[in-house]
């Protein structure tokens, strides 16, 4: 089924929320949600890296890995289409390497260009490399917006929109969680529940709330 851009935004922020419905990016969700400030910083960093990583992995997959007429070997070097190598099995290795080096590169670039932004995002950037949400959104884009290695209509725009919206959804639940946990600090909880256990139970309750969105009929 084809989705419109508006549908993709609503679906990836609320219905298929990355943390609460797809279980991606749980480590930063549990680790960085103790304070509101750091939650906002982490959310921004993830959204930023997610969008750029999706863009880069889309280009790589279309022009280098998938053996279609978009492949660079076919279009530039006139290799016959049956001789174009099918490198789609290298997807995981290539994506994780690209994401890791991209994060390094972004870190250096931001440090050079905008020290203020670097101070806000700096400490979160290295943590992002092993954040499964980034690789997750890249793999998910390939699964959703490609048919047999060929991009669907508007696939490029949909990819970027989905990545950005998924990042927003992540930021939203991270901020909600941080708000709850800041108040939780001052409550008198039973000892075994303190820390992670209660955070998981709260996440479960939030997830029930977000389940309500899946009944929504978006036109």
């Amino acid at each position: 089924m084809e989705y419109s851009i508006f549908q993709i935004i609503i679906l990836s922020i609320f219905v298929n929320n990355f943390v609460l419905a797809r279980f991606l990016g749980l480590c930063p969700y549990m680790g960085v949600s103790k304070q509101l400030d750091s939650a906002i910083g982490m959310g921004m960093a993830v959204t930023f890296v997610m969008t750029i990583a999706s863009l880069v992995t889309w280009l790589l997959y279309t022009f280098f890995l998938a053996p279609t007429y978009m492949n660079i070997f076919y279009s530039l070097f006139n290799t016959p289409i049956q001789n174009v190598p099918d490198l789609t099995f290298l997807r995981t290795i290539v994506f994780i390497l690209v994401i890791a080096s991209l994060v390094q590169f972004i870190e250096m670039y931001i440090q050079k260009v905008s020290p203020t932004l670097y101070r806000a995002l700096g400490i979160y950037l290295p943590l992002i490399t092993t954040n499964c949400a980034i690789l997750g959104v890249a793999v998910l884009n390939i699964d959703l917006f490609f048919i047999d290695g060929l991009p669907k209509d508007n696939s490029f725009i949909h990819t970027i929109v989905q990545a950005f919206a998924a990042g927003l959804g992540f930021t939203l639940v991270l901020i909600l969680m941080a708000g709850i946990r800041e108040r939780l600090e001052r409550t008198n909880l039973p000892k075994p529940l303190r820390g992670l256990p209660i955070a998981f139970i709260i996440a479960g309750l939030m997830s029930i709330a977000f389940l309500g969105f899946s009944g929504m009929n978006i036109k």
Partner: protein
Amino acid sequence: MAIISELVKGIYRENPVFRLALGLCPTLAVSTSIENAIGMGAATTFVLLGSNIIVSLLIILFAKILSEEGQKSINKIRIPVFIVVIASFVTVVEMVMSAYFPALSESLGIFIPLIVVNCIILGRAEGFASKNPLLPSIADAIGMGIGFTLALSAIALLREILGSGAILGYSIMGESYKPVLLFILPPGAFLVIGIYMALLNWLDARKKQS
């Protein structure tokens, strides 16, 4: 003796999921049924074992052939090296699974390539295998793998019994039982792992008291 303690520690004392809170994403996403849990556990154990062996051997090799300077510069890029090793093993798992277990591969879906970013594997490669010889690294990988599989199965067991009233397709709760669908859905995973963690904390506190 030391090897056995490396093997056993991953199962309860340093259980990767409940104690170290590593690898949470696949744990919660895949634990809808025992079958998925065991499949994911086996895949992760294989990658863990492979990467621990290769990393441990690589470090020994570097120490043998490289000068002091060379080792220092290799040390700076060790994380990307580990990631490439892990990603290669994950690719092997991905291909084997889609060839021989297509149904399992379908239901685990995106979480098979995501084994790469499972923090347990990089954590053990960096924290254990790169500092220890081959045999303890193998024992550590097997122990952690079993601990991970057991934790996954424990969560899946509760979710499957409550959520569908059956284990591996065999009904055990009787005809009159109405399944609590919530436990198969995403919220159930969060609730179950939260309750398990609280239970373990409570048991520990009781043990300390007595």
